[in-house]
Amino acid sequence: MRTALFLLLLLAVAAVPGSLVPQTSADPNGVAQYKIDHPELYPILKNLQVFDTYTSVWFSAIYLLLFISLIGCVIPRTKHHLDALRAKPPRTPVRLNRMAGYTFVTVPGGSLANIVDKARGILKSSGYRVVTFEKPGEASVSAERGYLRETGNLVFHIALLGVLLAVGVGGGFGFVGQRVVTTGQTFVNTLVNYDSFNPGRFVNTNNLSPYSITVDSLDVKYSNSNSDARGEPLDYTAHVTAKTPGSPAEKRTIKVNEPLEIGGTNVYLLGNGYAPEVTIRDAKGHIVFRDATPFLPQDSNLTSQGVIKVPDGLAKQLGIIGIFRPTAAKTMANGPISTYPGLKNPKLTLTVFSGDLGLDNGAPVSVYALNVNKLKQIAGPAASSPGLDLKPGQTAKLPDGLGSITFDGVKRFASLDVHHDPTKTWVLIFSVLILGGLLTSLFVPRRRMWVKAIEQADGGIRIEYAGLARGDDPGLDAAVDALAAKHRELIEPEPVEVKA
């Protein structure tokens, strides 16, 4: 017990640093920022695995030791409990007056066996395991109840092991993937279609369940009437068409708290934003680029930033950094910001670069970032031409006679998370067992009760009642009193003397 206590307290302390410092798993950007803000501290903490506290060697060591100590405790206790479940209650103590709730009555006469038998009946019907003892001039019943308390205790601790095991197995066979889907687009559940994918160690990535999801539309409602909450989101609903092999396409919805269950995975709507549709033509008017590009939201009013890359079709490679504002502020006093997340005054502001996009060497490059090292700004604050400012439907000429760019309109995109966790049902089952085990182990009283009838020298019979708590048992005294009262009603003749 001392070991368990020590390890529990150690575990509590060890969990603290992970809440003070950003964690790689939950907040990778926070970790990157921490590196910039604390250049001296960062390498030390990194080596101590503080940025991965909950998978670190030291944290794992503590909880594994805790579980080893738990196993070492549970096995002998289970054996002992199984023995106790088969055993009879122990012999009635010689002196009951040392026990809890001790009380006695004296009756003028009667049969010892009859008196004890009545007590036995009461105890048995209240769920006690009973055994009677007899010797000359004395008879008694010894009773015990509350075996469920220890059962609950063992279930609780074994279920804790179950949770750990299920979580471990689930981590190996589950996966998490993300994909940004613009409305109208279809996502097909194969590895190449994910923007990012984190499989467990034993996941066969060639064998993902075949289904497709088309995002037909994304409804977003913002608060307009409540002046204290103008622009606060009220609802996000993605209307999708889901297709699985062998069954017809189905219209479904995905909401924030209501994932779509499909093909053994859950699909979550975890983010959304705008994807401006842009057409770029060359000097002769031929279309070289036409697409809706997801722009990443930068604030709650969805001032969004994105990058458009045009590697082919023009005289030079073209890179564009765009800022999209669904409701552009009237003035630029606070910079190019949006003042409302809905589309009230949409505006696309573009800074245009030309040169080498750095795509040709085959190395993977983020679609959300533009490496301007080998690019020259041709329209924007650092160029001779100003940046381009477009409303939907407007067209602007690209500098240097490269062609033109048209802002066709705005679509929305949904950021979908696909999760597969084969053991979560097991985790839930073990969690329920934890709760159930806890309830019984803390609230079912384990107690022993005794009723003893002793022949007195004057021919009367003295009946003694007492109990013994095994573990915390606030109701023991009351239980002994209740037993005594009930027993007195059953025995004849009436008791003459009642004493506590």
Binding site: M1, R2, A4, L5, L8, L9, L11, A12, A15, V16, G18, S19, P22, Q23, S25, A26, D27, G30, Y54, A100, G101, Y102, V167, V176, S223, N226, D228, A229, E232, P233, L234, D235, Y236, K255, V256, N257, E258, P259, N266, Y268, L270, D417, H419, D421, K424, V427, L428, S431, V432, I434, L435, L438, L439, L442, D472, P474, G475, D477, A478, D481
Partner: protein, 335 residues
């Protein structure tokens, strides 16, 4: 209409605070008088005082408490619950009255919002403190815990005061992330659990003080807090604190599980070591340690009581600091 109901809710909350403040003063007066009375009865047991004492005991007699063993019973009947001052009765009535205003404030807030009144810091504080007082009043039906009144009203006043100054916000609609029936279940159970932890903490603190006094008596040293003479023995307090804390622990376990189920629905994973999850886990582990300590030789009594104190500090930290200052998925619940 909503505007005026909203104002009425705030008005009721402020009224409740005013009444709690008066109750606090009365509870404090009672504690002071307990000290004086204990001094009179133990140091100068004049015939008059003793006769008055007997009369009062006879008057209040009748109901016996069955929650302790005989050994404890003897001491407790001498010290506990039988003597009550006028200020104690006044304080208790005021607390009940304050609770009524508090309840109205909370219900009105819910009516105006059209949902459960626990979706931001102001609402957590308003409902959380309401439940603390509610649990305190409820427990008093079974056990006489009025000696904790000063603590309870004091804590509630401080929390409500901070919330009113720093966290009051007008009613705004629920963001999509909070639109779930799990908001009702998960947060409500967490709030009730917190209330039980608060009472358990107070009992553990009194237990520690009482234990110190009992040691002073044994060693023949002068005792500092004489009002403790009118309170249950440290062993009884320990049992009460334990029972309160295990109720809280079970509610907390449920909070953890319900939170995990909701997280799975909302974020796609049942556990992700989000800061709030971490602290909820830390609290769970501390109280698991507390329960183990009761069964560990050398840790019963004061040491386990210290664990309950540490545990409740973590609960307050989780609510007051983690919600507001820590970055995490739960931070939208702040403002």
């Amino acid at each position: 209409m909503n505007e005026s109901l909203s104002q009425l809710s705030v008005l009721c909350a402020y009224s409740a605070m005013g009444i709690y403040a008066l109750a606090f003063v009365a509870f404090a007066l009672d504690l002071a008088r307990r000290g004086a009375r204990a001094t009179v009865t133990t140091e100068a047991p004049s015939a008059v005082a003793r006769r008055a004492e007997t009369a009062r005991v006879a008057e209040a007699g009748g109901s016996t408490t069955t929650l302790t063993r005989i050994t404890n019973r003897v001491e407790n009947e001498v010290n506990w619950g039988r003597k009550q001052s006028k200020s104690l009765r006044v304080a208790f009535v005021l607390t009940t009255l304050g609770f009524a205003f508090h309840l109205v404030a909370d219900i009105l807030r819910g009516v105006v919002a059209g949902r459960v009144p626990w979706a931001n810091m102001w609402e957590f504080s308003l409902t959380g403190t309401l439940i603390i007082v509610g649990v305190f009043l409820l427990l008093n039906i079974k056990y006489d815990l009025r000696f904790l009144g000063a603590f309870v009203t004091g804590l509630v006043l401080v929390l409500l005061g901070i919330a009113a100054v720093k966290y009051y916000v007008a009613v705004v609609p629920l963001p999509p992330a909070l639109q779930s029936y799990w908001l009702v279940i998960h947060v409500m159970v967490a709030i009730i659990g917190t209330a039980f932890f608060a009472i358990g903490f107070a009992l553990s603190v009194v237990q520690l003080l009482q234990y110190r006094r009992e040691r002073q008596v044994e060693e023949g040293k002068p005792q500092q807090f004489r009002f403790l003479l009118t309170m249950p023995s440290s062993a009884t307090l320990e049992n009460l604190a334990y029972r309160t804390n295990i109720v809280a622990f079970i509610l907390w376990t449920f909070t953890l599980i319900a939170g995990a189920i909701w997280a799975e629905k909302a974020w796609g994973r049942y556990w992700g070591w989000d800061t709030k999850e971490v602290w909820t886990f830390i609290i769970w582990v501390i109280y698991a340690g507390y329960i183990h300590a009761r069964a560990t030789r050398g840790w019963r009594g004061s040491r386990s009581a210290w664990l309950a104190v540490v545990g409740f500090s973590a609960v307050m930290f989780n609510f007051g600091i983690v919600n507001v200052f820590f970055k995490g998925l739960h931070s939208y619940s702040g403002f």
